[in-house]
Point group: D3
Chain length 248, copies 6
Amino acid sequence: MTTHIVVMNCNTSEPMTEAIGAHARAAAREGTRISALRPSWGPESAEGNYDSFVTAAAVLDRLHTLDFPFDALVMAGFGEHGREGARELLDVPVIDITEAAAQFAMLLGRSYGVVTTLSRAVGQIEDSLRLAGLFERCAGVVAAELGVLELEEDSAAAAVVAASRAVLDRGAEVLVLGCAGMTRLASALAQQVDVPVVDGVAAAVKLAESLVDLGLTTSKHGSYARPREKRRPGWPISPTPGGQPRQR
Amino acid sequence: MTTHIVVMNCNTSEPMTEAIGAHARAAAREGTRISALRPSWGPESAEGNYDSFVTAAAVLDRLHTLDFPFDALVMAGFGEHGREGARELLDVPVIDITEAAAQFAMLLGRSYGVVTTLSRAVGQIEDSLRLAGLFERCAGVVAAELGVLELEEDSAAAAVVAASRAVLDRGAEVLVLGCAGMTRLASALAQQVDVPVVDGVAAAVKLAESLVDLGLTTSKHGSYARPREKRRPGWPISPTPGGQPRQR
Amino acid sequence: MTTHIVVMNCNTSEPMTEAIGAHARAAAREGTRISALRPSWGPESAEGNYDSFVTAAAVLDRLHTLDFPFDALVMAGFGEHGREGARELLDVPVIDITEAAAQFAMLLGRSYGVVTTLSRAVGQIEDSLRLAGLFERCAGVVAAELGVLELEEDSAAAAVVAASRAVLDRGAEVLVLGCAGMTRLASALAQQVDVPVVDGVAAAVKLAESLVDLGLTTSKHGSYARPREKRRPGWPISPTPGGQPRQR
Amino acid sequence: MTTHIVVMNCNTSEPMTEAIGAHARAAAREGTRISALRPSWGPESAEGNYDSFVTAAAVLDRLHTLDFPFDALVMAGFGEHGREGARELLDVPVIDITEAAAQFAMLLGRSYGVVTTLSRAVGQIEDSLRLAGLFERCAGVVAAELGVLELEEDSAAAAVVAASRAVLDRGAEVLVLGCAGMTRLASALAQQVDVPVVDGVAAAVKLAESLVDLGLTTSKHGSYARPREKRRPGWPISPTPGGQPRQR
Amino acid sequence: MTTHIVVMNCNTSEPMTEAIGAHARAAAREGTRISALRPSWGPESAEGNYDSFVTAAAVLDRLHTLDFPFDALVMAGFGEHGREGARELLDVPVIDITEAAAQFAMLLGRSYGVVTTLSRAVGQIEDSLRLAGLFERCAGVVAAELGVLELEEDSAAAAVVAASRAVLDRGAEVLVLGCAGMTRLASALAQQVDVPVVDGVAAAVKLAESLVDLGLTTSKHGSYARPREKRRPGWPISPTPGGQPRQR
Amino acid sequence: MTTHIVVMNCNTSEPMTEAIGAHARAAAREGTRISALRPSWGPESAEGNYDSFVTAAAVLDRLHTLDFPFDALVMAGFGEHGREGARELLDVPVIDITEAAAQFAMLLGRSYGVVTTLSRAVGQIEDSLRLAGLFERCAGVVAAELGVLELEEDSAAAAVVAASRAVLDRGAEVLVLGCAGMTRLASALAQQVDVPVVDGVAAAVKLAESLVDLGLTTSKHGSYARPREKRRPGWPISPTPGGQPRQR
């Protein structure tokens, strides 16, 4: 039976959404279907808390429009807000690429380092890992000082390699790519630094497949219980026929 | 000179917004003007992460419509998301009532306890305090098992007193009211438990006045730098003439 | 291409090894081959640090006898010592079921609880999770007060359910089975407690498949570099023709 | 009604006491009366634990001589011992400038740094913040390597600026002045480093005013219960007519 | 050669000082000389932070009067303030009985519990252990709800046994007596609870002997550098001919 | 009466065992007898987790052959595994030199640093200290990048001094020698760096003497209860007439 995974970009950039989808498909096994989606409103790139909180709501809004059955959700914004909200709304597993990347990295070395885009995001990523309970083995988060959309430029690779070396010097034994837009740099990076390089999108797809295989779903006991029924004027933003996401 | 403080409710309930405003005014000194506002869309009460992430964006959206000069923002949702985003968007001080209440409590006793509404919110409040760096002296967060809108009912007081006693048994020496809607119960509670009871709205108003008096504003160096200029299709949601909040 | 996973029981009980193997095969996808093995010497069950350190060396000894190519190692002793040693010896991924179970549980709820056999093992399991950097979201480790070999008895189920309820009362939202011998109780347990129940053997098999799929291997930079060449008189204990494990 | 705040220097330097008083008055609002006092014995400057423990007792001794009604106590020794003792002795709020500065700083940036006098005090300040539960967001404590009494010299400003830059490099987003004697350097410093600079004396005065306004007093439940009645031969040291501080 | 250890009671009770001295002598080996001393002013018992800060200065004051050569100082107030100050003043080893007891306990079990006098002291003891870096393996501090001077009463034993059982229930595997006045109850307690019972005075005497044997002294590099020379009007309180303690 | 301490080297190098024995004897007081032993199989030096887990079992195996009464066990492998297993097997005190060195260091300065051999061992030593609850005051673990057996070479001293300076720069106030083989360098090192230098073997011998003097033994309540009786085919490895260690 096909496993259908929704991979949700947090920003509204269509090229980035397509790239994330292609990358997710490359990681998926035979029999997994990937739907790479993006919110219908919000920033073209998430760089900081302001953007991140906007994307969190935009992603929740988009989830309400999903009118097809799916088995798992991958949230493809590294260090971005919102995963706990999606876990309330959905019963199927919700995998944040931040958590996925950190988990895989922790299996491969005693400590890991994150290479991200801008230094303004360093604290936000640390907080995301801390709340996920995955920060203790993090040797550092280092910024390449590139905007998300500058990652496409030719000079990006050198900046990412330099940042990677900086975090290895702090004791990291495995590298985590701290932005879904960095994926295309992964293999070149791994060759230059000679440590495993973990990409969160790929890791999250594998975790989604795994949890679906084992029949595991989100706990509805406690923090992630379904949202209470109540009046929410003007919400969701987008026109949503059925109103609720249609999970399998 | 008048200090103008915007007190922003996170939910869309007008009666609760008015109550919060009245309470903020009671705490303000002479010469402080309070504007109690609420988002133009979103849930009538925030109870859990799903609601909370929606309110975070709704509050940011509402901030874009502020077309009058103001000196500080009080975010009046206890344990709710979004404060870091508002701190990026604004230069004036942004005071989260969660932080304000915890800070005042920590000055009055060695440890404090939080009484909140529903147990589903306990983890979220703990995380909010943890990210604020104010969790270490928290003896516990205990739920009275009342929905936000049930706080108005007569039986609410007894449930809140019972929850307060439970958190004192865990070692709390000061109580924090973990919901802006609990304010009207504060004085009755203080009489029954004989420890200081801190209300976040009042504390936040005093902190806002204090920071304005000292001329202190949000650091724009690092995490709370202004949002980058970029395309954000469909955002803000609400029609906003000027587009940017007009701070003093 | 077939993925070949060695699932290594830590004790010398043949029935338990067979049961672990059957369970691993049930979790594996098509195309995965499971070899369930056990050490050639050591305790029939590991219950405490003394046993655990003996099994750690016995497992390393057994690894030296593996004369066939394999792609990943699953270490099937919950809370037992030795994973870091195996990660030095091998290049292929090494998955400890303790880590695997905790990781999956953390994706499904905000906190998890572990149900284990004897209270003497509680501290050891906590330490294993702490060193893995996965303890922060653990709400507690509770013992059913059953020896490993008593898990086969009819009365075991009731004791495990009671311990599970105790750890849910401490705030756990997901349950982790803290012993490879508990697997057969999993589905009955899940029905009674209505939260996800994660079994480490199944989780570890899925993680092994995933890491192999992505071509990720153990970092040889830092803590898990290969053991230095040196004289080790009398070691390995077991006669080992080739001397080194033959990984793919 | 006038709010009367006692601002207690920890050392016996009269010029420093006067400077602290002037600074407190500049921060106070209209209607606040400041009494700047100092102990009647002890070191002229507190630089290290030995001095600090002497000043802690000297301050407690001095409190026994206060024969006028007052509303709050500000303890104006940064990182110095004794606040918990004063909180037992008094019912009115007791504000330590260490805590006050850290709290205000944490509202203005994600992390703060402290600039202090001598490196021998770094550990002591860290401990003071740790015990106050306010250390987690501290990016570092850096010494300008100036004695307390050398802060008056012309060269002091450059050393303080250099230390400030060092702590910003460690990730601080807000600066805290780690010595009551540094106040006169604050505005020059803020211009040079372009981040908010928080002075503990000013912050503590505002917090004292705020707590008095809200009618909040020290919890007498638990750690800060009044000292037990007992024989204390030779104590207090100073002749004290009434024997107990006369709070409002 | 004789090792001369000064054992300093923190309070001014002569009977308690004598009892502490007798106990220290019972723990000392042949060739160790014990001088049991007490401050010349201050409370007859230390119960809370107010008392504790007074005793800290009184002990430092008393150290200035020591006009004979000695090899080590034992500070015999459990959980009391001042050890860091004595370490600055002296070059010889300074052993706090709080630290000594916790260290010995941690060698004998995975976790330890403290039984103390009054619940008001619980937080203070936790802080003392936390600052000493010895709190992590502490399973709890439990009060018998007896004043220091009530420990002599017949009913004290039962209260101490009950508190001991409470802390064993929290997971402690070793007991620490949290008051120098509890020593006479130690052997009866050990019989009843069947776990090791560690007394801080005895432990500190052995550590003092050990450090002296190995020629180890307090580091003068950093936090415990000697106090700076400066004016300290009115200090020390007690008439001190030589002015400085005369260590060997 | 004679106190008989077994000092167990973790590796099989006879010269190193003899050196450790000589050093232990130099630290022992009159009336203490030292038996310096080594395992009968295993690596000649322990450098990393693989070696360390082998030595843990080899040490446990060797303990089974002890057919003479002894009063305490010193485990002389710095940062090596196995102490918890020995504590289960034995009733007499078991002192790990890692713990002993850290404890003594923490009495002499506010923080300590460890100088060790290879950087691959840094994480392992940190974990050993963390599990012992003694890591919080550790300013760092720095490697001299020398193999254990290279410590005998003339150039070793310079590398150890350089590493010591590096860890002092990180804030250490006391040095700990992170390898039993470094002992001969201790006095030269102390002269060059002017801070106390603590050697774990000497510290452990003093702690063993102290615990024996006070009649304190390992808690058998909880984690260190005796190993359960059970079948352990092929274990112990070495021929053991009596089968159990013969403690006094």
